[in-house]
């Protein structure tokens, strides 16, 4: 592991909103091709941290580089090399499946030929041939999420950020979704994912758990279970989250 190059490295990254410290000096590294689970209770500061890493939000202090680019000065270069799928569903519901794929592909600078071949492959892989001309708003939630994920890695980014991608999705679709994540990771894309499902945490190579704006645990699922002396990730999470002062 140690010889692998880090694609995300954060050092004492902090974000303050007035008196409130949303993210408090978090330090961690994520390596190439890794699936990194970013866990924490609601309000622990996960989304804020992720928004900083994506260049949507400027940190109050600390340092971080994404794919070798500085998150203060080089946010636009970072954006070229990342994909992002937010908690809120964020494709255009009033555009069709094909139109959404082409639009997002287009603004990432894919040429016509690439757009055509990639959208064909994507639609076929998702089994959306019959729905390609349907408005995205009419699709069931699970399909929308899978589509959104596929669109977010259409331009072959080095890292993809997924913010609770499987919220509200049925177990079967969830499994399919994780299969897609593995596939992406195998192709060399680093996956940075937040989730509330502890079974999903087990699927990750490494996880971190945030409590009250700090990272209180970091390691592989096996290491963490040993460290906290718990049989399951559920137990680890519960031990940590119990001490939290913030929450819903």
């Amino acid at each position: 592991m140690t010889h692998r190059e880090p694609v995300i490295s954060a050092e004492k990254l902090t974000k303050r909103f007035g008196d409130f410290i949303a993210t408090n000096e978090i330090t961690f590294e994520v390596y190439k091709g890794e699936i990194f689970g970013f866990l924490g209770a609601n309000g622990a500061g996960k989304t804020t941290a992720m928004r900083m890493l994506c260049g949507l939000s400027i940190p109050s202090s600390g340092r971080a580089t994404i794919a070798g680019f500085d998150i203060y000065r080089q946010t636009e270069q970072i954006k070229r090399h990342i994909g992002y799928m937010s908690q809120k569903f964020s494709l255009y519901e009033d555009l069709t499946v094909l139109e959404n794929i082409r639009f997002f592909g287009g603004i990432y600078g894919l040429d016509n030929h690439q757009l055509k071949s990639k959208s064909e492959v994507l639609i076929e892989r998702l089994g959306l041939q019959a729905e390609r001309k349907k408005l995205v708003g009419e699709l069931p939630l699970g399909w929308k999420q899978k589509l959104a994920f596929s669109v977010s890695i259409l331009h072959e980014p080095r890292i993809v950020f997924l913010d609770e991608p499987t919220g509200g999705v049925d177990p079967v679709t969830r499994r399919q979704f994780w299969a897609m994540i593995y596939e992406a990771a195998e192709s060399g894309i680093t996956v940075f994912v937040t989730t509330h499902y502890m079974d999903e945490a087990e699927y990750c190579n490494r996880i971190s758990i945030m409590v009250d704006g700090r990272i209180n645990a970091l390691g592989t699922p096996g290491e963490l279970k040993r460290q906290f002396n718990e049989p399951s990730m559920d137990g680890v999470f519960y031990q940590l989250a119990r001490g939290a002062k913030r929450g819903d």
Partner: protein, 372 residues
Amino acid sequence: MRILKFLLQKEFRQIFRNRAILALILVMPVMQLIILPLAADYEVKNINLSVVDHDHSPYSRQLVSKITASGYFRLQGYPASLKEAYHLIEQDKADLTLEIPRGFERELIRDGHQQLFIAVNAINGTKAGLGSAYLTRILRDYNEDIRMEWMTPTRFQPVSTIEVVPSNRFNPLLNYQFFMVPGILAILLTMVGGFLSALNIVKEKEIGTIEQINVTPIKKHHFILGKLIPFWVLGNVVFTVGLLVSWVIYGIFPQGSISAMYGFVGIYLLAVLGFGLLISTYTDTQQQAMFIMFFFMMIFILMGGLFTSIDSMPPWAKALSRLNPVSYLVEVMRMIVLKGSGWADVFPHLCAMLGFAVILNGWATLNYRKTN
């Protein structure tokens, strides 16, 4: 350029997909343009008049019939006293009352001088001013008639008269619709452009798609242009339809340079759309954007010189109206449509508008933050 193409494609698709909005955008202005000028008739006629005639003489009757024959006044009755007449005004049944004193005819002949009393409901200044102006003019004519009648034998007295020869330029028939139609079109254009652009970015903020855009390497000015151009095209369509409607229905065809008109409207739309975008960068919900736009729209419209003259405003308000893009459009539309002005005449307005467009769009682009 390629990225801009994709953005434009997306915006146009979204506009055309939302039929309800599209219909509202196109149909509502046209309907309003057809109907409102009929309502915005400020030609002062049909002034309701009541006459308190204490004299009941041939002269007083002659005077009243001369007034009603003018066509400006509608006689609403002969109340017995001034008190009753005031009551009619209070109930809005009369706008004006004329009191003819007892012995009017007798004393006019005997003393050579008589006074009439006129009371006007002055809540609406224009109506009051014009109404009393008409009435005094009729009285003057009537006075002249009487003088003629009595003075014929001694006609050759050296009385100098100055005759005022009025002539009305640009709208000789004083058709009020000629005045209102271009102005109303200007307002409708402003509303369509302003509201659509103000709501647009905010809507993306509300549903969350803006996040997805912000994590892409799109350039800010591409994004803003992608929003501006579709509405600019749409605005020009609405404007053209509006011109056609006013030509077909009201027979109003621009007397002046049409190219100058489109040139000005093109820049004007950029300014208004820029203003809308600026508002949408400062707000978080469509509701907020709507209210702020509404606030400015009211001021822009009421202070835009469409309904009341800007010249008559106090100096501070006049200065303020120079900051109101609508006042330029209303003025330019009237100049080109009615007076036949061309490029050279509207050049100063054009420069001012260009300034608005650059400042507003520049500000909107600066204030639109992909990262915060």
